[in-house]
């Protein structure tokens, strides 16, 4: 005989007990992950706090919102009379919220398993017995997080001396310096609100770039290259003073945006539009309204000739090769004859010869008195063309900082590496296959600049051997192994840089005049 026992009276007790167990378990788990345990007491936010420890912040936000909406709906369900038609909608919303919560909690649980080095399939149990799982991870002494995936909230890098940096390096630009020709960057910080928290994306990037420079912007992923570029061209404003040939970019953005050209990484062109139409529209948008049709046509022809595409502007964009599309994209920005020209990986998807050809054209643009800043991940094939190198690195607090700014030769000497790619590897994180020495070089460069600014004789050109890294002098170790071609290249590079210096002097005399 089977006895039908009604156990529904147990349900509220089980609910209360499981909620208490979940709170206690999460408290212990949060403490174990280096967060505040009492966050477990706040409905919704407890999931966010956990997600913050395991690098799943967006899922944490989703779980938090879902749980809060779920709670509100439960309260409504208790208040509303059974015959109210709105109750059906509330119950429907309840169901939807539960589905959302399940997905977000599963994602967070997967992060927990990853941080605790547990097989991912354990995360499925969080859906059915979250309280037990929270207690298991929270109180089991054998389970310890192997790493904590959290942002450093203070934005201050351990091991560096940011206070000293702020004291010595002029983070505000003097009126005299701002009026000088060229690009002057005093970027104090660039922050963003990510999941309700202030995150430091970039800090202390101070540069002076003379007119006529072709500048290479180097850095691993997440180092802040695009963030810096967006801050310079005013797309995403930072706490910074940025002057281009005497004009503050942020304060005069409406006019300055026409003097800055930015070529994005992707070919952002309408593929089914005609090349002529694309260029003509770009000219109409970017050139002053009093430009005549004939002048406009001449400017387009000149630009396309500069880029080696004269007479090849007929047909659709889609029918052009990768290199030609890139040149059309560059041409669109070049039409307005910008003083500052920024290119985000202009050589992506191009073979070595075409990429070299493209950078030679950029060199020519810079030689006309413009500042050209280019991001590239394959810099060595064109390294000799650049006047300056900016190296950005992501510090241990996940904040982008300046690790070096100087000539390519100085960069090689500073990092003790003979190629630009190896320089990037120096500052890249270990999990990216790099050497993870970002903090060291940021610190060393800051110290060097501090000394330089303080009037010390130890400048970038005269870094003492004690300051060089132990494994440095890669360039000096095997001079005999260098091939003739490499020497030749270097020689030609030197020659070109000497020529460039002469041109730069000319351009500086010209000031911000447009060619």
């Amino acid at each position: 005989m089977v006895m039908n026992m009604n156990l529904s009276w147990l349900e509220p007790y089980i609910t209360v007990i499981s909620q208490i167990a979940l709170t206690v378990g999460l408290w212990a788990l949060l403490k174990k992950c280096g967060n505040k345990g009492w966050y477990a007491l706040i409905p919704g936010f407890r999931w966010y706090a956990l997600s913050d420890c395991v690098g799943r912040e967006s899922s944490g936000t989703g779980a938090m919102v879902s749980e809060l909406v779920y709670l509100v709906q439960n309260v409504l369900a208790l208040i509303l009379p059974a015959e109210n038609p709105v109750l059906v909608l509330v119950l429907l919303g309840d169901l939807v919220c539960q589905i959302f919560m399940a997905v977000y909690i599963l994602r967070i649980a997967m992060g927990v398993c990853q941080v605790f080095n547990v097989k991912r399939y354990w995360s499925a149990l969080w859906l059915f017995i979250p309280a037990i799982m929270a207690c298991w991870f929270g109180f089991n002494r054998k389970k310890q997080p192997i790493y904590i995936d959290r942002y450093n909230d203070d934005g201050v890098l351990a091991g560096t001396r940011p206070a000293q940096l702020d004291e010595i390096i002029a983070s505000r630009i003097s009126e005299e310096d701002a009026a000088r020709p060229g690009l002057h960057i005093r970027l104090r910080e660039r922050t963003a609100m990510v999941q309700f928290k202030k995150r430091y994306l970039l800090k202390d990037v101070h540069l002076d770039i003379p007119n006529g420079s072709l500048v290479l912007l180097l850095g691993g992923s997440g180092a802040g290259k695009t963030t810096l570029v967006n801050a310079i061209n005013g797309y995403e404003k930072a706490d910074a003073d940025i002057y281009l040939n005497g004009s503050n970019i942020y304060e005069n953005y409406d006019q300055m945006k026409y003097r800055i050209g930015f070529v994005p990484q992707q070919d952002l062109l309408r593929m089914n539009d005609s090349v002529n139409g694309t260029l003509n529209d770009a000219a109409l948008l970017r050139l002053p309204s009093d430009t005549s049709r004939a002048e406009r046509r001449k400017i387009i022809d000149d630009v396309m000739e500069t880029l080696g595409m004269a007479g090849r502007t007929s047909g659709l964009v889609a029918k052009k090769s990768g290199g030609q599309k890139k040149r059309i994209s560059i041409g669109m920005e070049l039409i307005s004859d910008p003083d500052l020209f920024i290119l985000d990986e202009p050589d992506s998807g191009l073979d070595g010869v075409i990429a070299r050809e493209l950078f030679e054209k950029l060199r020519r643009i810079a030689d006309n008195g413009k500042i050209v800043i280019a991001i590239t991940h394959t810099p060595d094939r064109v390294a000799d063309l650049f006047d300056k190198v900016i190296v950005l690195a992501r510090d241990s607090g996940r904040c982008g900082r300046l690790a070096f700014y100087g000539s390519p030769d100085e960069a090689r000497e500073f990092f003790g590496r003979d190629t630009m790619e190896r320089i990037v590897m120096c500052v890249n994180r270990e999990e990216e296959g790099g050497e993870g020495r970002a903090d060291e070089f940021i610190n060393r460069y800051a110290a060097m600049i501090n000394r330089k600014n303080a009037g010390s004789e130890e400048t970038a050109e005269t870094v003492t051997p004690e300051e060089k890294p132990e494994d440095t002098k890669e360039t000096e170790k095997k001079p005999a192994e260098k091939t003739k071609t490499e020497k030749g290249k270097k020689q030609s590079g030197k020659n070109s840089s000497q020529k460039n210096k002469k041109k730069k002097k000319k351009n500086q005399k010209k000031g911000g005049s447009r060619s």
Binding site: Y235, Q255, D281, L285
Partner: protein
């Protein structure tokens, strides 16, 4: 800055954007929307064209189908038009393009598309032998009033999908949202499915409701005969009661005395709806509601696209 250089303003930029859209019409195969609308119109008129404007049932199902075709055309015209080139818009916006000019150009371009589609739809209806009433409520010609109504339905739907296209970040999301919108429009049109209470209030938010009300008022559906009652009675002709067939006797009597039209007209009187009253005021109210909706969604499109710079990489 010694002097301020003047660049092209909003009006001049509308011309630039419009030129671009017209080029895309040719090169990006946007013109294919026109034959597609002809095919859909042909299928619908083939299915419902015979009884439209003759009986209440035929007019209702015909008008509903035409409203569906208009909404379908409008939705498909611009559901992907903005989101497919969002990254390009971001670049152009940063280079000085005004979003208001871009959307205004889209509004003009879509207006031309909707006019062309309305013309095609009316042409297909004419080819299918649909007999239009002669007298219009707003103008002297019914066909003009009817064309304006169809254009407004298509254009309002177009503006809704343009707004959706501006809000969403990619074409996949846009195409996922579109069926929900379409179903919402059809269910809450209040024409085929009887709604009451809070659900009825939701109908005011749909183009389908205003479009259907507009068309039914223009066609003067309330004055048309209703055949549902007669058809139901006719099916019961063989029903026997006490050895006689009272229903058969009744129908035979109606037919014998040639009073069928009178019967159908009387049946029509019982199924009249106040919403479909055939007055110029009613039609203008519907037109006004649709114009307001179109403008509202155009504003939503502009406001949402103004944030395009904040798109992450």
């Amino acid at each position: 800055m010694s002097e301020t250089i003047r660049y092209r303003g909003r009006i001049a930029q509308i011309r630039i954007c419009l030129g671009k859209l017209l080029r895309m019409f040719l090169y990006q195969n946007d013109w294919k929307a026109l034959p597609m609308s002809a095919i859909i119109a042909g299928l619908v008129t083939f299915a419902v064209g015979n009884n439209i404007f003759k009986t209440q049932e035929g007019t209702m199902s015909g008008c509903f189908s035409l409203v569906c075709v208009c909404i379908w055309n409008g939705f498909f015209n611009s559901i992907q038009s903005v989101c497919r080139e969002r990254a390009i818009i971001k670049r152009e916006h940063r280079s000085g393009m005004h979003i208001t000019s871009y959307i205004a150009a889209h509004m003009i371009y879509q207006m031309l598309m909707c006019i062309a589609q309305t013309g095609i739809l009316l042409g297909i209806c004419a080819l299918a032998g649909v007999q239009y009433p002669e007298k219009g409520l707003i103008t002297q010609w019914f066909i003009v009033d009817f064309a304006v109504s169809m254009f407004l339905i298509t254009y309002t739907a177009d503006m809704i999908s343009l707004a959706i296209s501006c809000i969403v970040k990619n074409t996949t999301t846009a195409m996922t949202v579109m069926p929900f919108l379409l179903i919402f429009q059809l269910i809450f049109s209040g024409g085929l499915i009887y709604l009451e209470g809070p659900a009825e209030k939701l109908t005011d938010l749909t183009i389908a409701k205003w479009g259907l009300q507009d068309m039914c008022a223009l066609c003067n559906i309330n004055s048309q005969p209703n055949v549902t009652l007669w058809n139901t009675i006719w099916n019961f002709r063989e029903f026997e009661m006490g050895g006689i067939q009272p229903v058969k006797m009744f129908t035979d009597d109606i037919l014998k005395n040639n009073r069928l039209d009178e019967f159908l007209a009387k049946a029509g009187e019982y199924t009249q709806k106040e919403a479909y009253v055939s007055t110029a005021e009613n039609v203008l109210t519907c037109w006004g509601a649709m114009i307001m909706m179109a403008l509202l969604f155009a504003v939503i499109a502009i406001v949402s696209l103004e944030f395009v710079d904040q798109d992450s990489r």
